[in-house]
């Protein structure tokens, strides 16, 4: 393979797989950090990891549970990745997901006794997509028209969504028995399907998984094969050049943000009308899938396929940690610690590159020295 020179002038040995190599190293370093943390509290990391992964894949129930946990992660990860690819940082997946979830629950509770299941599910799913999209649209418009930084805007929107859901559920959909959650939706309105549940008995796997995979394929196609993707990426890479070429930049920004929001909104539907059957409002924090979505996108190098793998990996950690704690007593936060460190190392990929480069150089010079020696003899 011929070495290529990247923009910064470093010679690259690996061309395509390199970004995945970085991700794999980030995972490795994250796992090492996790091992360190287990050691720090006097636990055996091998035992910890054994049960952590066992808890992700032990049997059909756990596999189903891992996939169910991964489902919203795929979507929020895709949301963040799509925004990234088009030059935007969507830190608002959590809020968009909440709005999608609120809409889904609201539609389900309102129409569950009126519509046949097929149409009902379509309404719920589409509703969540629209709601998430509209919520993100606000940030898109603010960015396009008023140059408002989307990072800050989406953070604000996250908290507005948080309170909207809290009081929305409370005021309109509250379970009469319990202030802390909405009424539960009927099975007819749930994305859980009996046939699927019977494949992975005891798990909360649901049709959301297929929706997320469909979304994944669509996004992959849009990004790589369509004029729309071409435009949006151009806007993301170089706004000025896009403007110069007559691409409607503002429209592009708004559209990208909206699509990202639609994906996160769908995540809300899969979570609250699939994984769950009601919406809880007794938490003080945003849904973790928002931040985790950033992690997923980053680890997946913002490519749809990468997102899939990263989401399943994180889903496995998330769903396996309970079993690990149950068996070993290692705090479940170890999983979040691992995810966080993985992201740090993914962000600091340069470090990995530098170390690899240095190592390669050393090896090369050693090899050189060796051949020289050989020559002298």
């Amino acid at each position: 393979m011929t070495p290529k020179v990247d923009p910064a002038g470093r010679t690259r040995r690996w061309t395509i797989p390199k970004k995945y190599v970085n991700s794999l190293f980030a995972v490795l370093l994250g796992l090492i950090a996790g091992a360190f943390f287990m050691l720090a509290i006097g636990r055996n990391p091998f035992v910890g990891y054994f049960y952590l992964f066992k808890g992700g894949v032990m049997n059909l129930k756990y596999i189903g549970q891992t996939l169910a946990t991964s489902t919203p992660l795929i979507l929020t990860g895709l949301s963040v990745a799509f925004a990234f690819r088009t030059g935007l940082f969507n830190i608002g997946a959590a809020g968009q997901m909440l709005m999608g979830g609120l809409t889904a629950i609201g539609l389900a509770l309102t129409f569950e006794h009126m519509l046949p299941r097929g149409i009902l599910l379509a309404v719920i799913v589409l509703g969540s997509i629209v709601a998430g999209g509209l919520w993100a649209l606000i940030a898109g418009v603010l960015k396009a028209r008023f140059n408002v930084n989307e990072v800050v805007a989406t953070i604000m929107l996250n908290w507005i969504a948080f309170w909207t859901v809290k009081y929305g559920v409370y005021a309109f959909f509250r379970d009469p028995q319990q202030e802390t959650q909405s009424k539960a939706i009927d099975a007819v309105a749930s994305l859980k399907a009996p046939w699927l549940t019977s494949l992975f008995p005891g798990s909360y796997i649901n049709l959301g998984l297929f929706l997320s995979l469909i979304a994944l394929v669509i996004i992959a196609l849009v990004l790589d094969k369509t004029t729309l993707g071409y435009e949006l990426k151009a806007v993301g890479f170089n706004r000025s050049a896009a403007e110069y070429a007559g691409i409607k930049v503002n429209r592009g920004v708004i559209l990208s943000m909206t699509i990202a929001g639609m994906l996160a909104g769908l995540a809300g539907a899969t979570y609250w009308t699939g994984y769950s059957s009601n919406m809880q409002i007794d938490t003080s924090s945003l849904p973790s899938q928002g931040l985790d979505g950033i992690a997923v996108a980053l680890l997946g190098t913002n490519s749809p396929v990468g997102v899939l793998f990263a989401a399943v990996f994180f889903g496995m950690l998330q769903s396996g940690k309970g079993f690990m704690t149950a068996v070993t007593g290692i705090p479940p936060e170890i999983a979040d610690t691992i995810i966080a460190t993985v992201i740090y190392f993914a962000a600091a990929a340069v470090l990995i590159e530098r170390v690899l480069d240095a190592w390669r150089k050393r090896r090369a010079s050693k090899a050189l020295a060796a051949t020289k020696k050989g020559g002298e003899e």
């Binding site: 020179v5 990426k233 170089n238 110069y244 070429a245």
Partner: protein, 508 residues
């Protein structure tokens, strides 16, 4: 004569390129020493080494005969070396004083910056060298020429003895250049020594004592300016004889293609950038727009190409009013645009060459069908352009645009725009930053356009380019059109004078 600076056998590599290869140069006390060389010859790199921004792989530096290691700009400062960079290093929202004292703050009580006394000292320096700088002005409020003088003051404030000027004149008006030459003479009179980097042979002739020519990182030779011709220096620089003139037949202008009437356009700063501007460009002619940077050229170009909306006035293309049309529609109507800044506007650097070749046409057949891109067609088309315009890239059309050299990037853009087969080609600084070979090539293609009956609107800050290439020259100053002359009936002096805002016939 004493050598104030001596650099010996300097070698500096950047990944993939040797920017300086065994370069030696000496600066005598009280001289202006010019550094000449094509783009990328290694001039700035050499000076950055002297100023401590880069460390050389090999070589030695002597200051006043003493061997030194210049590890960072602080050391250079201590040694009395100052530098005015090609791109000014000024903080836009700081005052002149703050910029000058940055890193060298005089303090009260050991930690409070004493701006008052610094400001007084700067005022005194400014008067002594006739620089006319207001120490309390904010950088963003003063002109480019003034900013340059702030850079000079920065060096003087640091008691620099050896002053490096990296292409100081490329951003100045002829008058400001004249002023600068005077200032340099003042500096020499006050006992300073100067290294001057410039591409303009005339300036070297005017002010320099000696000239060192670099080519591809190597010293070709150092000559005594007084006893050397411009042609000789140019030849040393490029390695062959250079023709300064573009070959072209007389123009045969046809119908009016672009007609601008009474155009008023707001600039980015929300003031009128173009006022009551009217202009005609005909088929088969190249109209050159001359003017000092920032006098309405960008507004004109953006208004014509649709990137900026106009306040009033009309723009017609072949008689059709396009004033209200968007960029894309105008491209469809037949306007192509070689933008001034190829990195900012011309290319999506993270797209491949082939993706860049369809930047304006991706949504048209055959490149896409019902919203789906047709990659084989795109590749075929891009390969054609790359072939026809001699774009050299490591992996052909699959190379990232970023990986191409500047000249090849520019050729790709020119190719793309000409392939649009436009009625009007707007070319802005089409050869900026390119070496002589590339310049010749692009000039030839522009003339070809004209000869095939297209209208060409050429906007350039390089007076030579305007004079060489245009059939007709219009001059803008403060957003107004103040001159319209046939290229073969005018000369540099006349156009230069008009650029300062003096209309033809008026006296200074």
């Amino acid at each position: 004569m004493e050598n104030i600076v001596e650099m010996r056998n300097i070698r500096k590599e950047f990944p993939g390129i040797v920017a300086n290869d065994n370069v030696s140069i000496e600066l005598r006390k009280g001289e202006v020493h010019a550094l000449l060389g094509e783009n990328g010859a290694g001039k700035s790199t050499l000076m950055s080494i002297l100023f401590g921004l880069y460390q050389p792989e090999q070589g030695e530096i002597f200051i006043r005969g003493k061997k030194v290691r210049i590890t960072d700009p602080n050391v250079a400062n201590e040694l009395g070396i100052g530098m005015v960079h090609q791109h000014f290093k000024l903080v836009h929202n700081f005052t002149v004083t703050q910029n000058i004292i940055l890193g060298r703050e005089s303090k009260r009580f050991g930690f409070v910056v004493d701006e008052k006394s610094a400001s007084r000292r700067i005022r005194a320096l400014s008067e002594r060298y006739a620089l006319n700088v207001n120490p309390d002005a904010k950088i963003e409020d003063i002109s480019v020429g003034m900013q340059q003088r702030v850079e000079i003051l920065k060096m003087l404030y640091r008691d620099a003895e050896a002053l490096i000027f990296d292409e100081p004149t490329s951003v100045l008006t002829p008058q400001e250049i004249h002023e600068l030459m005077k200032i340099m003479r003042n500096l020499i009179d006050e006992g300073k020594s100067i290294i001057l980097i410039t591409h303009k042979l005339r300036e070297i002739k005017e002010i320099a004592d000696r000239c060192t020519v670099l080519r591809r990182g190597r010293v070709i030779g150092t000559v005594d300016v007084a006893s050397t011709t411009e042609a000789r220096m140019a030849e040393m620089m490029v390695g062959r004889e250079v023709s300064f003139k573009v070959d072209k037949k007389p123009a045969v202008p046809g119908d009016v293609v672009l007609k601008i009437e009474g155009l008023n356009v707001l600039s980015a700063r929300k003031v009128l950038g173009l006022t009551d501007f009217s202009l005609e460009v005909r088929a088969g002619e190249i109209v050159g727009v001359a003017g000092v940077d920032g006098n309405g050229q960008s507004e004109l170009v953006e208004a014509v190409t649709g990137m900026r909306s106009v306040e009033s006035g009309t723009i017609r293309l072949r008689g059709r009013d396009i004033t209200k049309q968007g960029v894309r529609e105008r491209i469809r109507e037949g306007i192509a645009h070689i933008p001034e800044d190829r990195h900012k506007h011309g290319l999506v650097l993270d797209y491949t060459v082939q993706e860049n070749m369809i930047l304006e046409t991706y949504d048209q057949k055959p490149f896409s069908n019902h919203g789906l891109l047709d990659f084989p067609e795109i590749r075929k088309y891009a390969e054609c352009i790359v072939e026809a315009f001699d774009v050299r890239a490591g992996e052909g059309v699959d190379s990232l645009a970023r990986s191409l050299s500047g000249g090849n990037q520019q050729k790709a853009i020119v190719g793309r725009e000409i392939e649009l087969d436009p009625d009007l080609l707007v070319a802005v600084q089409p050869t900026r930053g390119l070496d002589v070979g590339a310049i010749e090539y692009i000039h030839k293609r522009l003339v070809e356009q004209r000869d095939s009956g297209k209208a060409v609107l050429l906007v350039s800050l390089e007076l030579d380019e305007i004079l060489n290439l245009s059939d007709r020259i219009v001059v803008v100053s403060h957003g107004a059109l103040i001159g319209d002359v046939q290229a073969d009936e005018t000369d540099e002096n006349e156009v230069g004078l008009m650029m300062t805002g003096i209309r033809k016939g008026e006296s200074a």
